[in-house]
Symmetry: C2
Subunit: 387 residues, 2 copies
């Protein structure tokens, strides 16, 4: 029986039948009420467009009531962009989806449509948070280093966000609990599914003082592509990501990629050169893609600067006299580097602003949409009517 | 008895009575034969100028013959800028002494006047070399890391230059000997003086396949200011300096300062954040004053780039069609960043060239003296008659 009379039932239905993240579904939801979208998907109405294909395999999995029962049984709840505890994901993803030259990130670079949550309100726990991630194959040094980093952050009641995996994730969550600061575990499977199994007691403890969160419907199993989607939420809900220990090609570096793409602070902890455990960290530092950090204090300092500038910009946004005043710190850096008379290419501007080209390209497009700058061939030129 | 009939006796005399390094003495020697300078100092002739004061305390220490006997006894020799084995120190120090705004380095930033040497010809051993320095209070990790870095450099027969001190210096020298690559110990005391005493056997072994060198007269004791002077020679005779383990304010960072001031490649090896041993290394990396390196291979790569460019420039210098072609890689980077029409400040140019301001200022002065650029107030402008 198709039962989507309430928005809650509709959210549960679409989250079940369309694998997140789906940009097409997000577009539909930005234009229609969720009940209408759910109805359209179930009845395969043509206006649903590409989501018909995405939902074809599961559209008759009518498990809304079971899913809601599961939520109730494990003490979890469903939250949506309308919920008061919904974090400002739109701001995190604002660089994406409006580029003429989509990056590989663009496809997945969207907010979740809804989230399954256990524990304290997400917006509250995520407010002042940093992602601490790293290898599953943690070394004794990695354990010590993770605990050192968390200790200082805990002293200032920062929330530690991680992926709930074995290794660095587990040490980061456990240290946070032990040091009485909130922690958030972002799962790559259904909220009712404890993965890895041996961390079931950990997730239970996290939910008591922090938050366990998933964008996947109950019963969803952990799979490789879901780990990657999960990493984007870890990066998106924090002000910055620090990788503690990561060998070459460690999955933790994917979270760092997301932080970088989202314009967040990217950080890596160095370690011994005599083992391979910190190779990924060292490489990112060498490539200027992560800043070397040795303590929670340095992390707070790096994030604090951005955070202050951001909240300052946010304040000014509410009372903005002109659009330039409402720019974020990074937007302003790019805006300042765009010349008035002759144009500069994105590469020139990136060099002048001391920022990476992909981020600069995103920000240039944003500034163009605000009519603060204009494009002429490959060159960007400042428009002067705003200052 | 004042006996300076031969140049050798004269060099021995002035090296004994004027504490190196002395810019005033260097200036005298650039204008007069060494015998005349020695005679003038001993007889306190007025044209000797400020060196009269510098030599007042020791001018009657007439120990030329004892010093030469000491040399013979320990199998050492005196070398001077005329010797075939004299390295090209002038090139290393070419940034200095012609600045209108001398830095704190300028006073000591001069080549040695002469050197006392045991072992293989210095120019030969120093030809393809890198400085490996660090803390005296070496940790087990520091020992491993030093050996790892030396191992790859040894495979390619690079010479390891260090200061002969306990800790990282000793491990670097010992690893080089063990791995059959040359090593150079630069002493902060007389060549006849084994400091630290327990390294006497090490210095003896170094002299068999490498070189032990000092700019101080025989019998000179190690003192703090001599360690700092010695560090400048370690940095000057190598293509780059790598600090393996250095806590906050470690003396090894002074060698890195010298390498930086001399425009050499500056590198630091990361380490655990859970001890203080690598704090100095991490700080320099964070300040962009040293590049993070994890292996000898990375060191060779960083130095190789500069080395190739330098030797290429040197080749072209000999057959130079115009002065621009004879510029070193760094000079060329600065030259390219100087605009043609309107001027740029040194800070602008440093940003465009991606180099640090003090080095850029030095290079700008050099380019100005070659009439390749001109100064207009605070701005620098390119002169076009050379291209």
């Amino acid at each position: 029986m198709f039962l989507c009379d309430t928005p809650e039932q509709a959210w549960v239905y679409i989250n079940r039948v369309v694998e997140p993240p789906s940009r097409n579904l997000a577009t539909l939801l930005s234009q229609h009420p969720v009940e209408k979208v759910a109805y359209g998907i179930y009845h395969q109405e043509s206006w649903i467009g590409p989501v018909l294909g995405e939902s074809a395999a599961r559209r008759d999995w009518l498990r809304q009531q079971e899913d809601l029962d599961t939520l109730a049984r494990i003490g979890a709840r469903l939250i949506t962009p309308e919920s008061t505890e919904w974090p400002d994901f739109d701001r995190a993803f604002r660089f994406f989806g409006n580029s003429d030259a989509p990056t590989t990130f663009d496809r997945e670079a969207i907010p979740p449509v809804c989230l399954w949550v256990r524990g304290r309100p997400l917006k509250e726990t995520a407010a002042q948070s940093v992602a601490v991630v790293g290898t599953r194959a943690i070394s004794p040094y990695g354990t010590q280093a993770t605990r050192k980093v968390v200790a200082d952050l805990a002293k200032h009641q920062w929330t530690i966000v991680s992926g709930g995996a074995l290794g660095v994730d587990t040490v980061a969550h456990s240290a946070a609990l032990e040091m009485h600061t909130p922690t958030i575990a972002v799962a790559a499977c259904g909220i009712d599914y404890d993965y890895p199994a041996r961390n079931a007691p950990l997730f239970h403890r996290i939910a008591q003082t922090g938050t366990v969160v998933s964008e996947f419907a109950p019963g969803t199993t952990p799979q490789r592509h879901r780990f990657l989607s999960r990493n984007r939420l870890v990066a998106a809900m924090t002000a910055g990501t620090v990788v503690v220990e990561a060998a070459f090609r460690s999955g933790a570096l994917n979270t760092l990629n997301w932080a970088e793409a989202l314009g967040k602070v990217t950080m890596a902890v160095p370690g011994p050169i005599t083992t391979a455990g910190s190779l990924g960290c060292h490489q990112r530092i060498q490539e200027n893609r992560a800043q070397l950090v040795t303590s929670g204090e340095e992390i707070r300092e790096l994030i604090g600067k951005i955070g202050e500038a951001d909240s300052g910009a946010q304040y000014e946004l509410d009372f903005a006299a002109n659009p330039v005043q409402s720019l974020s710190r990074n937007e302003l850096k790019v805006y300042d580097a765009v010349p008035v008379d002759s144009g500069h290419t994105a590469e020139d501007i990136a060099r002048d602003a001391g920022m990476r080209v992909p981020l600069v390209v995103h920000l240039l497009v944003i500034l163009e949409k605000q009519a603060l700058i204009r494009r002429e061939g490959k060159n960007w030129i400042k428009l002067l009517n705003h200052e």
